[in-house]
């Protein structure tokens, strides 16, 4: 079976786009082939900085022939109908159609169309130019003489040549002839920009790979990565050092070279005074080099590994010297920043440094960073007892935690924020808890990131994330679809993970109102200062109604502010729209928790069943309940009770709909005729208060065990008692009894939402 080889040779493709482009090329071409009846055995895409290529293996030489029958009008139909049929079927005259008969329709015309499959190269010549013209580059451009024409080809960078061959393994393949914007397909390519000269004629995939390899091009991206990694490790090992691996950097470098040559350079050990992370950030971001670790000390060594694209005639000496120069200059800058920061910290008191955040806008509708830091500090203090932290320390830590954002080092390398806070706190002689919180309060950054456990860090981390969430909810900047510019999903998941993994009991509803009480004051400020604010109008009017001549009050009159905040927390009923925002945010937490638990293997229907109960704002309790429920439902009692409850709920749903009423409580003991219904009523009556007590003590295991006691009476009831009795009074009483079953189970979870 013949193979296709396609190579699009162009000027340097941005590294970050290469992997996606290879996948797009494979998918677009192979989908188009299959769509046209050309199924293949295998396909693989290749990408280097200068070429995008695709090999499709095992294609047929031509499309399969197709046979189509097209039914036409009956014999003797009016001429226009016949003409229309001829035209549609592509027939010259009606003689070319055959006549068939059908008992219902009588005699009618049928056109039998045999279409010969086209030769595969013809199909490829049609597909490839279309794929090239519509290629989904994230950004594309025009170039050269033709660029004035509106139909000019757009490509990521100028496209220089196209190689396209097709043929069976045993024969000389042919060039698939086509033209795109003046470029004619051919069977030649070029090798490495500097290590190879002239054009190279290529027949098929193996040939292409081998010839390019000889011309200093490793076409397979994964192989380039393997080479880089192995060579870098070898170089490190030879010096008794370890490579600090970096998958993202490896990806990028593999997209910057066709012929990777790893080389080792060094820098002045005096630069090692700068924290490792800063050295690494400097060398990685600016120079795209790897750093090395000394296994004896665990710290960085004064070496780096660069990956050049050249086998240099001097063995790489000039390349190393050049890179060392640039790295020296960069590290001098980093060292200067690091020392400047320390000088500033030593001479400017923390309070004064904090004041400088007054000029930094956190978000135009949410005030300055300073205001935000103060809110976080107040909240961290309030949360401290809940998480077992010292309130003073938690507050101090929160006031310090963001201070590194204004340092030179973080200004240059935002990725070391937090970490620098930790270093600077230590250098300033602050307690270790504060240093740790400066780093850890940003965590966790995702589903697998480290979760802080030190109480002070936990208090600041929670305060930071909750303030962010309430703030953006208050100004209605919630995540939508794939858009989450403020990473609010991550913040909420962070709260979920911190709470669960530390086993914290936090009632979120009042905490959220408390934060809202503080933030709304910022928002109110911005309303009066006429900043463009998108606050729900009801919130403003509620606020204004409560605010005693608010416009006259300066925000410095903290008494009123405190009173106002307390009012929101203690009397949320005055602020229905604030409560609506809070509830919306709570349900956002519920969603994050659901995702989190589902990923941990919990059944999402159980999570739903628990969240269906009102007032679920204690994440830890929700999880405990879900877990207990899962265990209960895996017992026979649990499964049977679930079935019984569902049966009861189903009957109720149908009958309630029929009667147009909702049954709840009010079982009349006198009307309980059958022993089974009496037994059930007694069981429910006896268990009810005990279940309630167990739930009150948050002992879900006990509550479930008690609930299990209902199983036998429920089963017996359904076996012996007819709910829809003739006597209307009996029927209603029995429906009320079913409602009691529903109510008893609902104290634990909404069994209706449980599957199975």
């Amino acid at each position: 079976m013949p193979d296709l080889l396609l190579e699009l040779f162009c000027e340097e493709i941005p590294a970050r786009m290469q992997a996606g482009a290879a996948e797009s090329l494979r998918k677009l071409v192979t989908d188009a082939l299959v769509e046209r009846g050309l199924v293949y055995e295998g396909a693989k895409a290749f990408v280097t900085p200068r070429r995008l290529a695709l090999a499709v293996h095992g294609l047929p030489a031509q499309q399969p022939d197709t046979h189509e029958e097209r039914k036409g009008p009956r014999v003797g139909a009016p001429q226009p109908a016949i003409d229309g049929f001829l035209k549609a079927a592509g027939l010259a005259s009606i003689d070319q159609a055959s006549i068939e008969s059908d008992p219902k329709k009588g005699e009618f015309y049928v056109a039998r169309l045999h279409k010969h499959g086209r030769a595969t190269p013809d199909v490829i010549a049609e597909i490839v130019p279309a794929v090239i013209r519509a290629f989904p580059w994230p950004k594309s451009m025009r170039w050269g003489k033709g660029s004035s024409s509106p139909t000019t080809l757009r490509w990521v960078r100028p496209l220089q040549s196209i190689l396209c061959t097709f043929g069976p393994e045993t024969e000389e393949p042919e060039v698939v002839p086509f033209e795109v914007d003046g470029l004619r397909s051919g069977d030649t390519t070029r090798g490495h920009r500097f290590l190879s000269e002239g054009t190279i004629r290529v027949r098929r995939l193996e040939d292409w790979m081998a010839k390019l390899e000889a011309a200093f091009v490793v076409v397979d991206r994964e192989r380039r990565k393997d080479i880089i990694l192995a060579d870098a490790k070898d170089l490190a090992l030879a010096q008794g050092l370890e490579l600090v691996e970096d998958a993202g950097l490896l990806e990028e470098i593999a997209g910057l070279v066709e012929w990777p040559v790893a080389l080792m350079g060094s820098f002045d050990p005096a630069f090692l005074d700068v924290p490792d992370e800063v050295i690494r950030a400097t060398i990685r971001a600016n120079q795209k080099c790897f750093v090395l670790r000394n296994p004896a000390t665990g710290r960085l060594a004064n070496r780096f590994i660069l990956v050049s694209n050249l086998v240099a005639s001097d063995g790489g000496a000039a390349i190393i010297a050049g890179n060392e120069r640039v790295i020296r200059a960069r590290l001098s800058d980093a060292k200067f920043f690091w020392e400047t920061d320390q000088k500033t910290n030593a001479t400017v008191p923390l309070a004064e440094r904090l004041e400088r955040f007054g000029n930094v806008t956190f978000h135009e509708k949410l005030g300055s960073q300073l205001e935000r830091i103060r809110r976080i500090a107040a909240l961290a203090r309030e949360l401290a007892p809940v998480v077992g932290a010292d309130p003073d320390l938690a507050e101090q830590a929160a006031l310090y935690a963001k201070s590194d954002l204004r340092t030179e080092v973080v200004g240059e390398f935002p990725e070391v924020q937090g970490l620098m806070g930790k270093y600077y706190a230590r250098l300033e002689g602050l307690p270790e808890e504060i240093a740790a919180a400066a780093e850890e309060h940003y965590k966790p950054q995702g589903p697998t990131d480290f979760v802080p456990t030190a109480p002070v860090s936990v208090a600041v981390a929670l305060a930071d994330k909750l303030d962010t969430l309430v703030g953006f909810w208050a100004i209605d900047e919630k995540p939508t679809g794939s858009k989450d510019p403020y990473a609010l999903r991550r913040a909420a998941l962070g709260v979920v993970r911190i709470v669960l993994e530390n086993g914290l009991t936090v009632k979120l509803a009042p905490v959220l109102l408390n934060i809202f009480g503080r933030i709304i004051l910022e928002i109110r400020e911005s309303i009066y200062s006429d900043r463009a604010v998108k606050v729900p109008p009801q919130v403003v009017s509620e606020l204004e109604a409560i605010w005693i001549d608010g416009s006259e009050l300066s925000r410095k009159e903290t008494f009123f502010f405190e009173a106002f905040r307390r009012l929101i927390v203690e009397n949320p009923a005055f602020f229905p729209s604030v409560v609506a925002i809070r509830d919306d945010l709570l349900s956002f937490f519920a969603d994050r928790l659901k995702v989190h638990l589902r990923e941990a293997g919990a059944r999402h229907d159980l999570v739903d069943a628990v969240f269906a109960l009102p007032g679920q704002d204690d994440l830890l309790l929700v999880v405990k309940r879900v877990e207990a429920l899962g265990r209960f439902l895996s017992t026979e009692d649990g499964r049977n009770l679930l079935a019984g409850t569902k049966r009861a709920a189903n009957i109720l749903r149908i009958e309630e709909k029929k009667d147009g009423v909702t049954y709840e409580g009010g079982v009349d003991v006198v009307l309980l005729h059958e022993p089974e219904e009496r037994a059930l009523a007694e069981a429910i009556a006896a268990l009810g208060p005990r279940i309630e007590a167990a739930l009150g003590a948050e002992d879900f295991e006990a509550a479930m065990a008690l609930l299990a006691g209902l199983r036998a009476p429920v089963d017996a009831f359904f076996e012996k008692v007819t709910v829809n009795a003739e006597d209307a009074r009996l029927r209603e009483n029995r429906l009320r009894l079913l409602a009691d079953i529903r109510a008893a189970t609902r104290s634990i979870a909404d069994f209706d939402r449980i599957e199975g």
């Binding site: 451009m141 050049g322 790295i327």
Partner: protein
């Protein structure tokens, strides 16, 4: 490869001016008109009308020139070995972009002494955008052994207009490149005239005092009241010349695009000075940028209605 006939003091790897002369010789040989710097203060070689305006319209154009560039904010009182508030860019503009532009660029590196079998030259993605000029393009920063030595851009849009055809722009950072080929760590140590001993003149001899003086001026003393006024005046003058330049009051032909564009350049530089003085807030900043962009857009429209912009005289 460096011309072997050159005496030592003229060599591009021994002398700053030798580097400029080698680039001039190289691009003159490729058919460029070798221009002199524009006689106004600009932030980059792109502002020269030979690039901004000539990049617009259908007519072919090839030019090369040195442009002194002023970035008031980058002043460091002569204390930083790599940063200057006044430096030189070598600018090449080729319209339409030739098919072998990358090869031409690499050959120019060889002409100034960068051996491509010894040095690792790479094209690393870097898309260019000038918000004040309403211009953008795609291309690379060109690395030599890990150092960025040039900017390589295919202009897609200038002054808010599509470039048709597209021009290729090369910008060499001359000081950086000279430091590299001369093997010097501090810009002020660059050999300017290629001589040794008593006859040697360094970059510092020529520019150190100026860097100190202009840093004081840019950060501490530049008269902001005057500058605010100058910005307004330049803006108003540009609008006036643009308006007056339309022939017969119709918008078919323009007779004064270049004088109007001078005022746009002026406004841009004055804005940079105000920015360095720290008297423009973050929110205001955006509005100033937009005002300059409006001017450059209007100048671009006027240019397109001139003969050199592709509208022939009747």
């Amino acid at each position: 490869m460096i011309d072997p006939a050159l005496p030592p003091h003229m060599r591009p790897d021994k002398s700053f001016q030798g580097l400029i002369l080698a680039l001039h010789a190289f691009w003159a040989d490729k058919g460029c008109v070798v221009l002199q710097p524009y006689d106004m203060e600009v932030g980059a070689g792109t502002f020269h009308p030979a690039t901004t305006l000539r990049a617009l319209g259908p007519l072919p154009w090839k030019a090369a020139y040195v442009q002194p560039s002023r970035r008031p904010k980058d002043g460091r009182y002569g204390e930083n070995p790599n940063r200057l508030q006044h430096y030189y860019q070598y600018q090449v503009i080729l319209k339409p972009s030739p098919a072998d532009l990358q090869d031409l660029y690499l050959a120019s590196l060889e002409a100034i002494g960068i051996d491509l079998r010894l040095h690792d030259v790479r094209f690393v993605e870097d898309d260019w955008e000038s918000p004040t000029l309403g211009a953008w393009g795609l291309g690379w920063e060109c690395w030599c052994d890990g150092m960025e030595v040039s900017q390589f851009t295919y202009f897609q849009q200038v002054a808010g207009f599509e470039c048709a055809p597209v021009a290729g722009e090369l910008t060499y950072g001359l000081e950086r490149l000279a430091m590299y080929v001369q093997g010097v760590e501090n810009v002020y140590d660059l050999n300017f005239n290629g001589r040794e001993g008593d006859e040697k003149v360094t970059y510092g001899d020529v520019f150190l005092q100026a860097e100190q003086e202009y840093s004081r001026h840019n950060f501490e003393h530049a008269d902001t009241d005057m500058l605010f006024q100058q910005f307004r005046m330049a803006e108003e003058a540009a609008a006036k010349y643009l308006e007056a330049g339309w022939e017969d009051g119709t918008k078919a032909r323009h007779l004064m695009a270049q004088p109007a564009y001078d005022q746009c350049i002026k406004a841009s530089h004055v804005f940079n000075l105000l920015d360095a003085r720290g008297v423009i807030s973050v929110t205001e900043r955006q509005s100033y940028i937009l005002r300059v962009r409006e001017l450059s857009r209007a100048c671009g429209a006027a240019w397109l209605a001139t003969a050199a912009g592709g509208t022939p005289a009747p």
